[in-house]
Every structure is written in C-alpha cells, then in structure tokens.
Symmetry: C2
Subunit: 349 residues, 2 copies
DNA sequence: GTGAAAGCGCTAACAA
DNA sequence: TTGTTAGCGCTTTCAC
C-alpha cells in the first residue's frame, strides 16, 4: 500500500451523512439554507472522514484561489538581505492572512524566471499579484498584463513614453520620493550648506529618478559635478562618494538616495578625514533601522513607512478583488496612493 | 464589459487549429507523437490566442502542482531578520526553480495560522512541503501528517516519546549539532579552560537540546551552575551571561548555542570588564556572517553550511516526489541526512 | 430545504 | 498518428 490512499471526497461525505453532494457542499461553504439537524450530521461526517475540499476542483468552478502572489524582481540575495523587502513583506503578509488569503512568494532573477512567473500567473494560481522593485526595462508588467491578473505595484512603475504595454490604469503604492528629497535638500540648505551633492540610486528605478528630481527642484543650478550615480548599495555609495570628492572637493553636504548609500558615503568621508557633520553634512532616505541608527554618526534621514506601504498594497488589491466579485456594480477607478515622508533628525545633518 | 473576458481554453485552440482537444493537449505537453505539421499549426493557434493552460483543471486530473510549500513556524519578524532563514531559503529556492517548481512560502505565527496552513496543505495546493523551525509542542507535524503531504523537515523534528502522531519515517536534514557542540567544548578544553559554561538555545527545539547534550558529553561533571538557558537571540544571551557571572563568577569559557547568543554574551562580558579571550574564551555556533566576523573580538565558532542544508532538503523532497510518481517501484526507505560541522577559529577562543 | 444534473478545463485510456 | 470518451471533485442552477 502506497502512502497516498486518496483523500475523501464530497461524495464520500455525502454517502456517510446520507445526503446529497449539494447539501454537503452547502454546509462546507457556510451552511446557509440547510436545516441545522442535517447540517450537524454533515459536519460530523466531515469530521470523521477528515474531509478537506480539493482546491483544484473548487477553483476550477469558482475561479477563486484565495491566494495572492508577491513578485519581487530581485535576486534572493537582496530580498532576504535588504531590510526593505522584509518590512514590506511583513505588511503584506499581515493584511493578507487577516483576510484569509495565502501569500505566494515568487522571486525572479533572470529571463527564465520571468517566463516561469508569467506562466504561473497566467495559469490562474492566484487571484491577484503584488509586484515590486520593477526596473525600467522589465518585461514583467507586460507579462502580467497579458496574464490578465489584477495587480498592485509597489513603487510607481516606470513605463516610459516608449513602452509598449502601458496598462491604462496601473494601481500603485509609493511614497513621496520627490517631496521627501526636496525636504532633505531644503534641510541642508537651512543648515547653511551651499555646495550640496547628491548620490543617486539605481536610475532604472523610478524611486531613484524621483529623488533626483526632488534634489533638482531645490538645487536647480547644481552642476553635474555635484551629482554622482549610485545603486542603492553601500558599495555604490562609496564609489560615488569618492567620485564626488574628486570632482567637487569643496562640497559641504551630501544627500544620499538611501540609507545604505549614505552608510557607504560616510565610510569614505571618514577615510578622507572629513568630519560629519562639521565639514560635510549627510542625509539619507528610508530611515531603515537599524542601519540609520547605527552609522557613525547616526544618520539624519527621510522616513517612509515601509510596512504600511505593504499593508496598503494588499488592502488595495483585496478591495479590488472583492469589487470584482460583486459583479455588475461599476468598477470604481482604481486609485494609487502616495504616502508622505517625514524628516528624522539625528547627528549627521 | 468587465476586465476578465475569460481566457481561451483548449477547446478554442482546437477549433482554431482544426484538430481535437487531445491533440492540442499533446502538443502543449511536449508534443510527442504528433505529426510536426499539425504540431506547428497547433502551436500557431496557441500563440495567436495567447493560450495558457488552466492549472486548476490540469491539477484536478494529474494531481500534480509543481509547487512546493515552505513552512516556517516563526513570526515573520524573525524569518526576515535572522540570516539563518534567508540562507536556507536561498538554497531551497535555487534547487526548486532549477527543477521548475514553484516555491510557496507559508509563515505561521499563531494558532489560527496553523489551521490555515493545514487547510492549504490538505487542499492539495502543493505536491510537498519543506518545514522548519519546529518547536516541541508544535501541532504542525500532526497537521501535515494528516494532510498526507510528502514532507522533509529542516532540523530533526522533536517528537518526544509522548507525542501522538510520530510519523513512522520522518525525513529530515540537520547538521551534526551534538558533534559540533562536542568539538566546540573540546576546543575550549584544549585551550586549557576548565570552568566552561554553556548558554543553551531555546530548549523546545532539538538543535538546542542536541547542542546541550554535546556539551554534556564533554563536560560530564559540569554542575547546573555552569548552564544557563537562552533562546537563540542576543538578548537571551545577555540575560543568560549575567546569570552565569552571578552563579559562577570564576568561569573561564563560554560555549554559546549560536552566534547571536554569543554576541549578547560578549557584550555583557565587556560590560563586566572581563577580557575575551584572555579572561573568558567564547565560542559560538553557526558561523553566521556577518555576525561572527563583526563581533568584538571576532567570534570563534562552529560552522554549518546552511544554504546547502536548504538545497538538500529540496533535493530530497523532489526525489521523493519523482519516486512517488514513478508508481510501483518499491519506495526506498527515505533517508535523513546529517551534515558535518567544522570549527572556525577567530579571536574569541 | 434538498436533490439531480450539468458542467468548470483538462488529461488519459481506448478506438479508429 | 489522431479523435472520442470518460471522468478528476467541486459548485450551482433548476426542479421538486
């Protein structure tokens, strides 16, 4: 005898309870309109047989999965290393499980993965998708669009004018990157700094572009000498900081695209004997604990509530799915959300 | 018009290609035994219609999902914080995607979650499960057993003699906790230490118990004064270290149940003016980078290859699933694996 | 309130 | 090689 003697079916339960399959189905799904005596008998049969509905069969007819995919377009290395994702996933997970939905985590590293993920989504495994960390040239939105799966994006998707498949109304949750960046730079200006440099994030992501724009809003006349390209990592921050010190040795402040970048910049500044904040004021973005608190000196930064972003993404998606189910009420235009940021003052600026 | 005008079915493709559903099915599933001219026509129809097989329907008949659940019995807080899980998940993910299987991550925090996870597994969403971080009183193994899902455990499951539902042959992957612990303590002995204390891990997990046993193997005559209970966290390490200094101020070495614990212990030792390793030698377990390297002083520890454990778990499970599918060949007794550990010397001992 | 019957979209014998 | 025919286990009209 092999291990998997097949699980009991509705049929079996019905037989045992002496009722029809339809009745069992009703009881299993809430039991409305079933006389309580019968319902009780059915429930006992379910219990005794250890019956659990076969999801594939159920999904086949209801077209519901009660499962949502979270797609992250980054190597696992980063996903499980960068606290950013952890925080966001926590928010999502909380909201999802609160509504009895499963979270299915899909990581994509390369081309092959994209195809696999596309198939998975199109295959109807999930009712919706939460997608983040998109890059400009990413084929994922197209695939998802093609799969026809309701989706909410984390961060404003970066479909340029040239993009083929710009969804008419992509819903996303983002924080106010541009406004936050403006606040950061203005803070440096208020501190009396005049030669304020910027280390960008990975410019194939909208968050990096928006922060750069915010910087430019305030420093309209800043020359290219004061801008160096980073990639959201400490190493990128180090490299960019060195470049800046080379091209603009007289700088007196740096706005780094995120805290990780700032931490790299701080290291290089220390290495070069520049005191922070006396010689050079430094400000980051994210307020990612414990990074921001543990730098030397502790980092002044722009805070965004990452967990809340995750929660919100999930909430928007679930809401959309429910609407969808309700049927013929007119679909309200899905609304994206941009969350505010706040300045957190510590010692570095 | 609502957004989801239903996706094309096999039927539609068949009609368009002017063949039967069966033929389309054959082409879609590898196309063996279909004349290539026909196959080509079918493929074109698939392409034109953007056909993607409905997984629920397919699963319903094949009973395969090509998906594997990873169940972690810890709050997300720890999952995405403790590098341990990240490492293990990376190994699992690599192996799974290499074999075109989806990884479905299930996190369980409380009672309700257990029920939900049980339903999910029993519902046949996945072909198998990878489960770790089990605690002694955990209802999960019972649920999984009940769900009849092939499973591989990470870490030896701790079914005591009293446990109700001990699976006859649970497959697990573990590292040699007891042997590693012996090596750690012997190393301290070799260093000439005689009053060697131990801070345990969470004793409701077998890894903690095994490491304690390893300690006792070498320090058979150690009094209870030299043993303090921790919980695998830095804070637990601090608390336990204080307790030890209280009860056994003359100790000259500490074997901590993991690196996180050791880092807490180091902090307290420093606080109390004990020099490491001169006054007190300290050794950890895991060799978790970057923790082990970044403590002050860098930590001597017992290394286990966590990513490899993950990879191995996945491999064992997939192997099992294949066997299963093959049908009537006699099921080989599933074999658990215990991986060796190695001593990594740094400055703390 | 309850049951009979018709599929959901697919695969897998079995025939042709 | 290809088509025909049964289902997989469930929900859901529609009668009763």
């Amino acid at each position: 005898m092999t291990e998997a003697m097949s699980r009991p079916t509705l049929e079996a339960v019905a037989a045992r309870a002496g009722v029809s399959r339809a009745t069992v189905s009703r009881v299993v799904n809430g039991g409305n309109g079933v006389r309580s005596a019968l319902a009780e008998r059915v429930r006992r049969a379910v219990e005794e047989l250890g019956y659990v509905p076969n999801q594939a069969a159920r999904t086949l007819v209801t077209r519901r999965n009660d499962a949502v995919a979270v797609v992250i377009a980054e190597p696992e290395t980063r996903v499980f290393t960068d606290p950013f994702f952890a925080r966001q996933l926590r928010g999502i997970s909380k909201e999802l499980t609160a509504h009895d939905n499963q979270l299915v985590l899909l990581l994509t590293e390369g081309r092959d993965d994209h195809a696999r993920v596309g198939r998975y989504l199109a295959g109807g495994h999930v009712d919706g998708a939460l997608v983040f960390s998109l890059h400009l040239d990413d084929p994922l939105p197209g695939l998802i669009q093609g799969a026809g799966v309701p989706t909410v994006f984390g961060g404003r998707p970066g479909w340029g004018e040239g993009a083929r498949a710009r969804p008419p109304a992509a819903v996303f949750v983002d924080s106010d990157n541009r406004g936050g960046a403006r606040d950061a730079v203005r803070h440096l200006v208020d501190l009396g700094r005049t030669r304020i440099a910027h280390i960008t994030g990975a410019l194939d992501q909208t968050s990096a572009v928006d922060r750069l724009d915010g910087y430019r809003d305030v420093m309209a006349d800043a020359g290219p000498r004061l801008i160096a390209e980073g990639d959201f990592t400490p190493l990128g921050g180090e490299r960019a900081m060195r470049e800046l010190l080379d091209h603009a040795p007289d700088l007196d402040a740096v706005f780094a695209a995120n805290d990780l970048t700032a931490s790299g910049a701080l290291r290089v500044l220390r290495e070069h004997g520049r005191r922070v904040p006396e010689d050079v004021a430094v400000i980051g973005f994210d307020d990612m604990s414990p990074i921001a608190e543990q730098t030397d000196p502790p980092l002044t930064t722009i805070r965004q509530d990452i967990e809340e972003m995750g929660r919100l993404m999930a909430r928007l998606l679930l809401h959309r799915l429910d609407r969808h189910a309700t049927g013929d009420t007119v679909e309200p235009p899905p609304t994206s959300v941009v969350l505010p940021t706040t300045l957190v003052r510590r010692a570095s600026a």
